[in-house]
Point group: C2
Chain length 550, copies 2
C-alpha cells in the first residue's frame, strides 16, 4: 500500500502525492479530501459514524513525527487515529497517569491538589470511584470507540423513579425526601388536570379543533391519571386525586394486600419546591436514558487506547515548558521526570492542554490564538466518593443507581450503577458545580467530609455516618493540570460557543505547525465524545495537509 503509483495521463506516471498536492493547492482541503476519496486513499469506514473516515496507511504519514501534548482522551484519540495511517506519534503527559479528566480512583490512588491537600484513596478491592467522566450516551461516538477497542459496557442509570428530590427553604415540602415517581405523578397529574379544565372551558378553542380537543383530553386523562368528577360536567370536571404511579403507602402484595395509595401533595407546594425543574434532565439529548459506562471503571477506555497506541509512546510527568513552531516543524520543551528540561522535535504538534493552562505556557502563537485561548473560562466541579460497608441505598431505600437532586450544596447524590447487591459500595455523596463546588473545594478534604455528611444525614439519616468506611474527594478547579471540570465559552450556562464565536473558530485552525484539540473545541463540552470528535477533526485536517503538502 502507499507505494502504489497512480498511473496518470500522457506525461506518464505521477505519484499520488504529486497529484494530491496539486489538487490541494488549487482546490483547497475540501476538494483534496474528495479527491482522496475518489482515489480510495483515505476512506476506512468506522462503525457507527457516517461522517468520519480514519486516515489510511500512507507512506507520507509514516515519514511524519507528531508530538501530542496531553494524554487525555483528545490526545490519546489523536494518537490512536494517526497511528492508523502510520504516523510516528509521541505523547507528553504532565501527570503520572493517562486519561486526564477520565480518572478512576482506586485503592492507593494518591493526589495532591493545588492547595497542597494530599489524599490517599482507601477503597476496598474492586471498589472504585469515577472522579471525572462517568457516563456515555447512546448517541455518542465514545460508544463506537468502546466497540472498536473491545471495552465492555453496562448501563449507567441517571433517572431513577425511586431516587429523591430534597430541598430546604421551599415551604411545606422543605426537608422532605420525595421520590421522583411521587413528584412526577403529582405534578403531571395537576398539569393534566389544569389543561383538561382549560380545554373543557373552551380556553383552547382558538388553537385547537374540536376533534383535537377530544384527542387531547383522552391523552391527558391517560398521561396524568386524571378522571372526571362524579358530576361529570363539561365545565372543569377534571380532577387529579393521586395515582399508584406516585407509589404506595402500603405496597400491593399477595392475598388481601391490594395496596394503598397516599394523597397527592398540593400543587402550590410542589411548585414552590421547584422539583419539576429536574424533569427536563430526562429529555435532554445527552442525558436521556439509557446511558452507559465501561464495566470496571471509565479508565478502561483509557487503558484500551494506551494499549492500542503502545505505552512506550507516552512520556509521563513531562509538563510542557514551551511550544514553538520553527522553520522545519515544531519544538516542544518539557520537564523530564528526572527534573531536567528536554526537547522534542517533530513535524507537527497537537496540543490538548486545557486553554486556561495553555494560555500561560510560553509559545510563539499568534496574537489571535493567544487571545482566543483566554476566552473560555473554567467551570468548577466537585465530587466525593463515600465507601459504605453496606449498600443501604439498595437495602433500605430500594434505590439501585440514579441521582437524588438537592438544593443543598451537595447538588447531586449519585448511587452506583454497578456492583448491585454486593457487600459494599461507593456513592457520590456530592457532585456539584460552580459556587457549590467552590464552597466544598475551598475546604480541606476532612472538612468537606464533615459538611457532606451533615447534609447527607438530612436526606438519608444517621447511616450515612455509621456505615461509612472511607472517602475521597476531588475539586477539579484545584486539580493540577486540569484547573476546572470543563470550560464555558459564555462565562456560564450554556457552556458552548455562541454561533460564529471568532475565538472558538480561531482555535479550530492550526497556528503554524500546532493544532488544538479537546472537548472545549466541540459542542459536547465536558463529555468524552467532545474530545473524541475534536480529535477526529484535527486528525483529518492534519492528514489532509500532509497528503497535500508532503
Amino acid at each position: 500500500m502507499g507505494r502504489t503509483r497512480f498511473r496518470g495521463g500522457p506525461e506518464g506516471p505521477v505519484t499520488r502525492r504529486q497529484l494530491l498536492s496539486a489538487v490541494g493547492i488549487t482546490g483547497g482541503a475540501g476538494a483534496l479530501y474528495y479527491a482522496m476519496g475518489a482515489l480510495g486513499l483515505t476512506l476506512t469506514a468506522t462503525a457507527g459514524s457516517s461522517a468520519y473516515h480514519a486516515p489510511r496507511q500512507s507512506e507520507l504519514a509514516r515519514g511524519k513525527r507528531v508530538v501530542i501534548i496531553g494524554a487525555g482522551i483528545a490526545g490519546l484519540a489523536c494518537a490512536y487515529e494517526l497511528r492508523k495511517a502510520g504516523y510516528n506519534c509521541v505523547l507528553l503527559e504532565a501527570r503520572a497517569r493517562p486519561g486526564g479528566r477520565v480518572w478512576t480512583v482506586r485503592d492507593g490512588t494518591v493526589e495532591t491538589d493545588l492547595d497542597g491537600n494530599k489524599q490517599v484513596a482507601r477503597f476496598a478491592p474492586g471498589q472504585y470511584m469515577d472522579a471525572g467522566a462517568t457516563r456515555i450516551s447512546q448517541n455518542m461516538v465514545t460508544l463506537d470507540y468502546c466497540r472498536e477497542l473491545g471495552v465492555p459496557i453496562q448501563v449507567f442509570t441517571t433517572q431513577n423513579a425511586n431516587c429523591y428530590y430534597f430541598a430546604e427553604g421551599v415551604g411545606p415540602l422543605s426537608g422532605k425526601a420525595i421520590r421522583h415517581r411521587t413528584g412526577k405523578a403529582d405534578l403531571y397529574g395537576y398539569v393534566a388536570e389544569l389543561l383538561a379544565k382549560a380545554t373543557s372551558q373552551g380556553a383552547l378553542d382558538q388553537y385547537l379543533t374540536d376533534q383535537d380537543q377530544e384527542m387531547l383530553l383522552e391523552f391527558l386523562s391517560d398521561w396524568g391519571d386524571i378522571d372526571t368528577t362524579s358530576d361529570g360536567k363539561k365545565e372543569g370536571g377534571w380532577k387529579y386525586s393521586g395515582s399508584p404511579r406516585r407509589g404506595y403507602v402500603e405496597p400491593p402484595g399477595a392475598g388481601e394486600r391490594s395496596g394503598r395509595v397516599g394523597d397527592p401533595y398540593p400543587l402550590s407546594d410542589l411548585l414552590r419546591a421547584r422539583l419539576g425543574f429536574r424533569f427536563s434532565d430526562e429529555f435532554d439529548y445527552d442525558e436521556a436514558m439509557p446511558l452507559f459506562q465501561p464495566i470496571g471503571g471509565m479508565d478502561r477506555i483509557v487503558r484500551a487506547l494506551v494499549d492500542a497506541i503502545g505505552a512506550h509512546r507516552i512520556t509521563y510527568e513531562a509538563p510542557v515548558r514551551s511550544i514553538r513552531t520553527t522553520g522545519t516543524g515544531v519544538e516542544v520543551v518539557f520537564d523530564s521526570p528526572d527534573g531536567k528540561p528536554r526537547r522534542e522535535l517533530a513535524d507537527y504538534c497537537i496540543c490538548t492542554v486545557p486553554p486556561q493552562i495553555l494560555k500561560d505556557i510560553p509559545a510563539n502563537f499568534s496574537k489571535a490564538v493567544r487571545e482566543a485561548l483566554r476566552a473560555p473560562t473554567p467551570v468548577s466541579a466537585g465530587k466525593m466518593g463515600l465507601q459504605y460497608r453496606r449498600r443501604w441505598w439498595e437495602e433500605d431505600d430500594r434505590i439501585y443507581g440514579g441521582v437524588t437532586y438537592t438544593n443543598l450544596d451537595l447538588t447531586l447524590v449519585e448511587y452506583p450503577s454497578w456492583g448491585y447487591q454486593g457487600d459494599r459500595g461507593i456513592i457520590h455523596g456530592y457532585y456539584n458545580f460552580n459556587d457549590e463546588a467552590e464552597r466544598y473545594g475551598n475546604m480541606p478534604p476532612a472538612e468537606r467530609l464533615t459538611r457532606a455528611l451533615q447534609q447527607l444525614e438530612r436526606i438519608h439519616g444517621a447511616k450515612v455516618r455509621t456505615e461509612l468506611e472511607s472517602s475521597f474527594s476531588v475539586a477539579w478547579q484545584k486539580t493540577r493540570y486540569s484547573q476546572g471540570g470543563w470550560v464555558s465559552w459564555q462565562g456560564g450556562d450554556p457552556v458552548g460557543p455562541r454561533e460564529g464565536d471568532p475565538q472558538f473558530a480561531r482555535l479550530l485552525k492550526p497556528d503554524g505547525k500546532v493544532y488544538f484539540a479537546g472537548d472545549y473545541l466541540s459542542h459536547l463540552i465536558g463529555w468524552q465524545a467532545g474530545a473524541f470528535l475534536s480529535a477526529r477533526e484535527v486528525v483529518t485536517d492534519l492528514h489532509t495537509r500532509v497528503l497535500a503538502t508532503g
Copy 2:
C-alpha cells in the same frame, strides 16, 4: 433450637406447642402469629422485606411432609421457605424442567405446543431468549431473592429515548418510525405551550393564585422548552418551536458542527398517532426505570432456588391426576416419567397449578373452591426471539435496549439489554397480548416468522430479513401446563381482582389440607413477585397452623 421448652406460669413448664395450640384455637391465626413473635419463635428477618418473616426451624415442621404441585416460582419459593423451618418438601412438576413461565430458551431447547407444533431453538452459544418473565422492578421482592440467593443482576431497559413509535392508519404520521425522544419533546412542548397560553389568558384564575401561576409558567417553560414569541404579549405569547430534546437532523460535533434541530410534528398529527398513550408506561409503579434482570437469563433465579432446595426433591414429567384431602392428610396421584401412575401421601399440599388447568383436575375440593377456580380467565401472550448475526439496532439505529411500540400485531419490539456491542444478539421481534397474541399463536411457527418479518421490515427495513440467523416463538395460551401468559380476574384489563371479590378471597384459604399459591392470588399478576409473595402468605399460614395444631 425448637427443642427449647417454654417455661410457663405456676403450673410448670408447658411446651411451646401446647401454648401456641391454645392461642391458635382461641385467638385465630392472627393472634397466634403475634404470640409466636412474642416468643421469638418465627421471626427471621429477611433483608428488604419488613412484613415477612421466614418460618424458623422447628421440631413440628421437621415432622411434616408437604407435597408441592408445580415447580414454578410459587412452588419453588414455598419449598425454599418451608425448608428454612425444616419441612420435608417434595415437588411434582409436569414439565421436564423447573421454572414454569420463567423460561430461558437456549440452543437445543425443544418445545411442542398444544397444536403439535414442535420447535427446536437454534441459538448461538451464550445467546438466549427469556420467553416468559424478563424483568424485575426495584420495588419487587424478587430482587430480595436475588440477593439472598446470590444471583447477580443487571439493568433491563424498557424506556429508551432512541426507540421508536411506529403506527399505521393514523394519518400523516402513519408508517413513520418516530423516536421516543422526538414524540415526547414535541407533545410535552405543545402541552406546555397550551397550558401556558391558558394560564396567561386567565383561564386558570379561579384555580390558582397569581404566585402559583407565575411558578407554573416558569416550570412549563423549562419542562416544555417553550418560549414567549418576540412580541412578548401576555395573551397567548407562548410557543413551542422544537427543541434539541427531540434529537437532531445533524448532530452536534466538534468544530463548526453545532448541530441542527428539525421542525416539530404538528400537534394534531401527534394526537392522531396516539403515541402519547405510551408515555404513562414510564411512570407505572411496576414499570418505571430502572428495571433489572439476572445476568445470564431469568432462569438463574430458578436454578438458584432448585440448588437451595435440593434437586432431588423435584420429580419432573409428573403431571398430577388427582388431589384429595384425606382423614390424615392429602393424597396426590400423578403420572410418573415411566408412564405409570404414582401416589404421594403428605400432611399438606400446596397447589400452584394455574387455575385454568387446576379446575379440570379431579379433586375433592369444595363447591366454592371449584367455582372460584373457574373465575379467573387466561390472558394470551406471545413472544418471538430473532437471532441476528449483527446487532444492527445498536450499530445502525443506536438503540441499546428498550422497547419500540407499534400498533401492528407485533405490539412491542424489544431490544436486548445485555451482550451490548457483541457479535450477535436476539431481539424480541414481537411481544403481544390478547387478540394480537392469538392471531400469531394460531399460526404454525414458520408462518409467525413470515408475518413478523413482514411487519418488522416496515420499521427497520430489509436487514430484519438479511441479517437473520434463527428464530423461536412462544404462544403461552398454546403452551402445555401454562395455557395462558397469566390470568385476569375481571375478564380483561385490569387483571387484578375487584375489591372484595369472594372467589379470589376463597382461594386464599386452604381447602382441607390443600393450599393454593401463585401470582394469580396476588395483586402483582404476571410478575414473579406475585408468585413469591403468594408463596410467603401460604407458607406463613401453613406454618402457623402446624405450630398451632401440630
